[in-house]
Symmetry: C2
Subunit: 343 residues, 2 copies
């Protein structure tokens, strides 16, 4: 900018005024300055600007795994929203690890991001400290966190799983295996509650042997399913509370020589692009990914636009049960599956 100013024989203040439109500058000088900018190929240094202005027009986004299709879509939507608003997005993947997440949020705050969207943070106390220390707005995604009072957008997980399990019960299933993710994040808590309540509402017992835990990965789903299938009285249906794990479930079913839905019904959380392309077409709980991402982005953009003091806003969106053909009515002949799908 100094060089531009010299070349145009004006002060840097005038150059700045022209570039930012913060003051009127005469047509004559404007022209000289614009010419100089072109000649020199000047580009404003955003770092210096950030230092002075105290704002980077960059936000931080952390997700556990970008390869989980739910987060892939959420990241995509959020990235687009902020791109439109002229913000850059720094992406971090926490690998479901709390320490990693801590480090990464620190990394982002060091770089003075203007705001933070964090998905699936683990511990309330740590998060609270972060939110308080950082003077930037934070929106929580996919997880509520007691004691942390900030904008939040989550799914009504309990209700969603309740509906899914109730659907299985309606089909006649009585022993329904449930594969949960680790319990230290609220969605897994709520989903489990939904499972329990659906069973109880139908007067069915909640049996511990039918509940397994995994760490969100395919291999965990595989192992959990193997255990469920080798039970003395094995379940007739399995619900996986997380999408990557259901891949393991399907592989385990195949490896053990069973097939879905003939021998065992399967449903899971989170829809994915191929769900209605191949066989069996998985029955899933679809999250309104686009809405979730956009709401989160809007909440943060609103704060960034200056609305700092509004009370925390908590959004809970509804999931939708996508009924396909991976669950069969129990007791009914196999041919009845087609009808149950159109129901």
């Amino acid at each position: 900018m100094l060089h531009v100013a010299e070349a145009a024989r004006v002060s840097v203040a005038t150059v700045s005024a022209l570039i930012n439109g913060t003051a009127t500058v005469s047509p004559e000088l404007s022209q000289r300055i614009e010419q100089a900018i072109r000649d020199i190929g000047y580009k404003r240094n955003a770092i210096a600007r950030s230092l002075k202005m105290g704002t980077t027009r960059t936000i931080g986004l952390t997700v556990p795994h970008i390869t989980n299709p739910f987060f892939t879509d959420v990241v995509s939507v959020i990235q687009q929203a902020f791109d439109r608003a002229g913000y850059a997005v720094m992406l971090c993947c926490t690998d479901e690890d709390l320490n990693t997440q801590d480090d990464q949020i620190r990394l982002l705050l060091d770089r003075m991001v203007d705001g933070l969207i964090v998905a699936r943070v683990g511990d309330g106390a740590i998060l609270k400290r972060i939110v308080d220390d950082a003077k930037v707005p934070v929106v929580l995604l996919d997880r509520v966190c007691e004691g942390v009072d900030t904008d939040t957008v989550v799914l009504d997980n309990q209700r969603a799983v309740f509906d899914a399990i109730s659907y299985l019960i309606d089909l006649g299933h009585r022993r329904i295996g449930y594969i949960s993710g680790s319990f230290d994040i609220s969605p897994m808590h709520d989903r489990m509650t939904g499972y329990r309540e659906a069973l109880q509402a139908a007067g069915l017992p909640v049996e511990n042997e039918l509940v397994r835990f995994g760490n969100f990965h395919e291999v965990d789903g595989y192992n959990a399913t193997m255990q469920l299938l080798s039970l003395h009285d094995r379940p007739s249906a399995i619900f996986s509370a997380n999408n990557p794990m259901v891949i393991g479930t399907m592989k385990a079913i195949r490896d053990i020589g069973l097939s879905c839905p003939e021998d065992i019904s399967v449903a899971c959380f989170d829809d994915f692009p191929w769900s209605d392309v191949f066989q069996p077409q998985l029955t899933t709980v679809a999250q309104p990914v686009k809405a979730i991402g956009e709401q989160a982005a809007n909440l943060l953009l609103d704060r960034l636009a200056g609305n700092r003091d509004a009370p925390p806003r908590k959004l809970a969106l509804k999931g939708r049960l996508m009924i396909r053909n991976s669950c069969r009515p129990l007791g009914a002949p196999l041919g009845a599956i087609a009808q149950s799908v159109s129901a």
Copy 2:
């Protein structure tokens, strides 16, 4: 830092020296400074540091669509690699649009990223200008670009498609439909060449009516497949040069009342996590995603470590044909598919 210096009754220079270890500071002062840092909760401002140092420890990464499973994986691997190295990653999605990509690269350069990994840039001239203007190292991914001399990691696309098409020919297919992405990026060019050469090597004609173009999206694959299937003499196999488009292909086959592989064989580019879970299990060309991402990251990290003047390095990795059961031997009875899979 100023406050820390005052609290510890030393100069800012000494604080800086201690933090960075750039000079020895006496145990006594060290202790006072560290105490002050704790008391105040001081965190070094990375923006001010970047301004002074001319380096942000941040890189820019642009991909067309993060929802394309190939790019999802690549982004994941690259993010991890840079995270390990203490770099932040700014992610941009270009939506296959050259102007968008241009804007985003500018956005990233404005923010003084230390390096750039760009996947699928369109035009050689524009890219060349960008690479030259930006004084930062650039790694090209998934695309070669004539006239732009910089580090590159790509797949041997031509060979990969050649192998896939040859496989179909070996199965007895003679009319093989081909769905390409837009032609303005080199992989699509090379893949098409692979298609052509495989046909020619087998003495088969290259028929224009069997070749369709789409813009990488599911809907494009759907439309292209509809056209192919309504040809007077319809193909017995379809190869899709891009992964999202193959979803459209499968849906079109279903909607038209045919089934795969009984009526029509299907193969495509890019593997995905569910490919061997559901039926039909798609035969795909798997890119070594992990290697591609890691190589790209390593090339850039090497440049960032100071190796600026080494000549441009061009890596071409090999794809792998994952033979499953979505392609059937032509003329053979249906039961023969199983054998062909194990072949």
